[in-house]
């Protein structure tokens, strides 16, 4: 058989990636063909050379420090976020109690309830006068949601939620 037919298998033979039958065929050919034996030998040495030369590639002296520094930055960012979330959670949990015990807050709550009720009752009339207002409310809400999502995404860029909640 022509040596060229063996060549791709010689490369796989060097890597021990042939089936037992193929391996025997190539081995037999290598015993008889000095040119292919040389090719196998070259491939072997090429691999050793390749590994040896990658292994001595100089690494920038500042690399470890810069990695540690960016990790510290990341850690600080995470801690900051966790602090925010903890603060907001506590505020949300504590606010009903504060509202219950604060006359000013109760008054404000009552006022907002009355105001909201009045707006709610006036809504059909308002919509008749300015039919565009519903569209404006919808657009405003959508914009607010988009801005909110963008803000949260910016805040949590590169950080998964489970890290923040952990």
């Amino acid at each position: 058989m022509d040596c060229r037919a063996y060549a791709p298998n010689i490369s796989a033979y060097v890597d021990g990636e042939l089936s037992q039958a193929e391996q025997l065929v190539v081995k037999h050919h290598l015993e008889q063909c000095s040119e292919c034996r040389q090719l196998a030998d070259d491939f072997l040495h090429l691999g050793e050379n390749f590994r040896a030369n990658i292994n001595i590639l100089p690494v920038p002296y500042y690399l470890t420090q810069s990695v540690l520094l960016s990790l510290k930055r990341e850690h600080n960012k995470l801690t900051h976020l966790q602090m925010w979330f903890t603060g907001i959670t506590i505020a949300v949990m504590v606010s009903p109690i504060l509202i219950l015990f604060s006359p000013l807050l109760t008054t404000l709550l009552h006022l907002s309830y009355v105001a909201f009720g009045a707006i709610w009752r006036m809504l059909p009339a308002l919509l008749q006068i300015m039919p565009v207002s519903l569209l404006a409310v919808g657009a405003g809400t959508t914009i607010a949601i988009i801005v909110g999502i963008y803000f949260i995404r910016t805040l949590m860029r590169g950080i998964s939620y489970d890290e923040v909640l952990s």
């Binding site: 090429l46 691999g47 590994r51 590639l57 100089p58």
Partner: protein, 177 residues
């Protein structure tokens, strides 16, 4: 790289900052060399190192077995490099310049540069299979799975890459026939 790796990884998982520094010290060289071999661009290699350790920091908790860290990290770095290679062609770097201090480490830097330059001349497809096989020690099946190509293609690509590298080194006078 690190003698008691499993212990160190276990400590890192429990949040030990000193252990993490040991891990970075022990592995940053390996990660950089792997990334450089694949990307052939010092800046890209540095970025990969940063990205890789950031991922390690974030997801080391997902690692099932501490002793599997090396394999896990190797795969992580390879995937980062392959993703980056897919996204953009690395910025060409004219010359690889080494500082005077680093030159003292090994005796034959001309030959070293010749090999590195030869690897650089390989196309990305050849370079990635060669690095994955020769440097990272993946077998053909693993390479096929990671690159999402048939096993036969891996075999022929590795063969072609070796032949091409041999040819470049022959032409540069590195291998004397």
């Amino acid at each position: 790289m690190i003698d008691n790796l499993a212990d160190i990884v276990e400590k890192v998982r429990s949040g030990d900052a000193t252990a993490f520094t040991t891990l970075v010290n022990g592995y940053s060289g390996y990660v950089y060399r792997t990334a450089f071999a694949l990307m052939h661009n010092p800046q890209d290699a540095e970025d990969i190192v940063q990205e890789a350790f950031l991922k390690v920091y974030r997801s080391i908790g997902q690692l099932q077995e501490s002793y599997a860290f090396h394999t896990w990290l190797t795969r992580l770095v390879t995937n980062l490099c392959l993703d980056r290679l897919k996204k953009h062609t690395p910025t060409p770097v004219a010359e690889i310049s080494y500082s005077a201090s680093s030159r003292d480490i090994t005796p034959d830097w001309d030959q070293h540069l010749m090999v590195i330059e030869a690897v650089k001349q390989l196309n990305i497809e050849h370079r990635e299979v060669l690095v994955m096989r020769e440097w990272q020690g993946y077998d053909y099946k693993e390479i096929a799975a990671m690159l999402k190509i048939p096993l036969g293609t891996v075999k022929s690509r590795i063969y072609a890459a070796r032949l091409h590298l041999k040819q470049i080194l022959n032409n540069s006078g590195y291998i004397k026939e």
